[in-house]
């Protein structure tokens, strides 16, 4: 098997897993079967692509294989009694005029993050079903045994089916609250990765990457939502410094001691642009305030931390990147560069609360 095919399958897994599961679930109305079919499709891709080459649209190819597999299984097993009731899936699929409701991946995300599921369960389901992490990987994120995590995920799927949590994008009157829950889940996944409690690794890059991918997906699907833009900005600005957070000795590096040449300037620029857009469009959200704090740190590549603090906090009274209002300027006053990420986190928390109160 050549490396190119393995890389192509891995890439497709990262990019397309959510879409494949999400569209297959609508057909199977059963999460387990949809997951199995998606896994089968990737296994088949490894075999088939090695001989016939990587298709032009790997996602389309994989989705088609998964759905065909689902149809086969459903035909064969139709006469057996099912263990769980079928998921509640709307019969009529909204047309492209309702862009939000038209994407199955959003249905999947909102179902995983339904308020009738507790927060750790929302996180676990999102990592498994949307990000495509294996149950063992999800268990590692939570520092629990794989069997424990498997039981939790099974229980959650059972509740979704039995209590009839619908496979649906929430209605407009619920959307704001429900998006908030989704963003908290994505933020939490990033935080677990960013401050990994696991002794072996200080940073779980895979979890951070999953969170960034999820935030990018949400941004793609809900481009007008400023909270989504704010969260993606926050994650990118933190992710940009990931390479410098752990030194060669494996120990955490405080901000002042980080090698700024390792910072990803492209990610910083993208984060700042997203933040600027989010602040310009509406009231700053909690994530935008935290992102603004991260931007203050990230935008001064050559200055030492303490200097950065004095110069910026003392002289620069301009609101963040031309944004209006006191809250947008708040990060300048609360950010205390040079004391390390831990301290910045506390400042961010305070600023976040202040931001929320100002809304």
């Amino acid at each position: 098997m050549n490396d190119e095919v393995v890389a192509a399958v891995a890439d497709a897994h990262r990019r397309e897993w959510a879409r494949i599961v999400a569209t297959t679930v609508r057909l199977t109305r059963d999460f387990d079967l949809a997951e199995e079919c998606a896994q089968d499709a990737f296994a088949q891709a490894l075999r088939v692509w090695a001989s016939s080459g990587v298709p032009d649209r790997p996602g389309g190819w994989l989705t088609e294989v998964a759905r065909n597999r689902a149809r086969d299984v459903m035909r064969r097993e139709a006469r057996f009694r099912r263990a769980l009731p079928l998921l509640v899936v709307d019969e009529t699929v909204p047309g492209p005029e309702d862009a939000l409701a038209a994407d199955d991946r959003l249905r999947l995300i909102f179902t995983c993050c339904h308020p009738a599921l507790d927060r750790p369960t929302q996180v676990a389901l999102t990592l498994r079903l949307v990000s495509g992490l294996s149950t063992a990987e999800v268990a590692r994120a939570f520092l629990v045994r794989e069997a424990t995590m498997a039981a939790r995920i099974t229980r959650a799927k059972r509740k979704i089916a039995t209590a009839r949590i619908p496979y649906r994008v929430p209605s407009a009157d619920q959307l704001g609250v429900r998006v908030g829950a989704v963003l908290q889940v994505v933020h939490l996944i990033f935080t677990i990765g960013h401050t990994a409690p696991d002794g072996a690794q200080l940073i779980r890059r895979d979890l951070c990457a999953s969170a960034v991918d999820l935030a990018r997906l949400l941004r793609l699907l809900m481009p007008a939502d400023t909270a989504v833009g704010g969260l993606l900005a926050l994650l990118l600005l933190n992710e940009a410094r990931a390479a410098s957070r752990v030194g060669p000795d494996g120990r955490l590096r405080l901000l002042a001691d980080q090698d700024r040449s390792l910072w990803d300037t492209a990610l910083i620029a993208e984060g700042v642009a997203l933040l600027t857009d989010a602040l310009r469009r509406g009231e700053p959200t909690r994530y935008a305030v935290e992102a603004a704090i991260a931007a203050v740190h990230a935008e001064a590549p050559r200055r030492r931390g303490a200097e950065l603090g004095r110069h910026r906090l003392g002289r620069d009274r301009r609101p963040v990147r031309g944004a209006a209002g006191d809250v947008a300027g708040l990060p300048r006053r609360t950010a205390q560069p040079g004391r390390g990420d831990r301290h910045a986190g506390r400042a961010a928390g305070r600023a976040g609360r202040a931001g929320a109160a100002a809304r």
């Binding site: 009731p85 509640v88 308020p115 009738a116 039995t162 209590a163 009839r164 949590i165 619908p166 929430p170």
Partner: protein
């Protein structure tokens, strides 16, 4: 369609302490709930307080033993219920906040799916 049991839990002492005006508002909220739920309501009742309950359980000797009081002897107990029929949980969760027990600090409403026996 599926059935859901809405179990209204709360502290009976707090319900007893409510004034006449508070009860008027309370009943009006229930009326608004019933109006919004419409024909989704299969049934529903307010229950007499827990001290009026009688519990029957095995005494271990084969003879059922009758005891005075509710199954779970707690400060909070079941104060009433509704049985609803709805398409999915979201439909129910949209209606439940109309119930006044959701908004009092001592009470809450538990939504339980009812087993479907075909």
């Amino acid at each position: 369609m599926a059935k859901y049991m809405l179990l209204i839990h709360g502290d009976a002492e707090q319900w007893d302490a409510m004034t006449a005006e508070q009860w008027v508002a309370h009943d009006a909220a229930h009326a608004a709930f019933r109006e919004a739920a419409g024909d989704r309501i299969v049934g529903g009742e307010q229950l007499e307080p827990a001290p009026t309950a009688t519990t029957v359980r095995s005494g271990g000797t084969g003879e059922p033993v009758i005891t005075d009081g509710p199954f779970l002897d707690a400060k909070e107990g079941l104060g009433g219920f509704y049985l609803l029929e709805a398409g999915d949980l979201d439909e129910v969760l949209k209606l439940v906040p109309l119930l006044p027990e959701v908004h009092a600090a001592h009470s809450a409403v538990e939504v339980r799916p009812v087993v479907f026996h075909g």
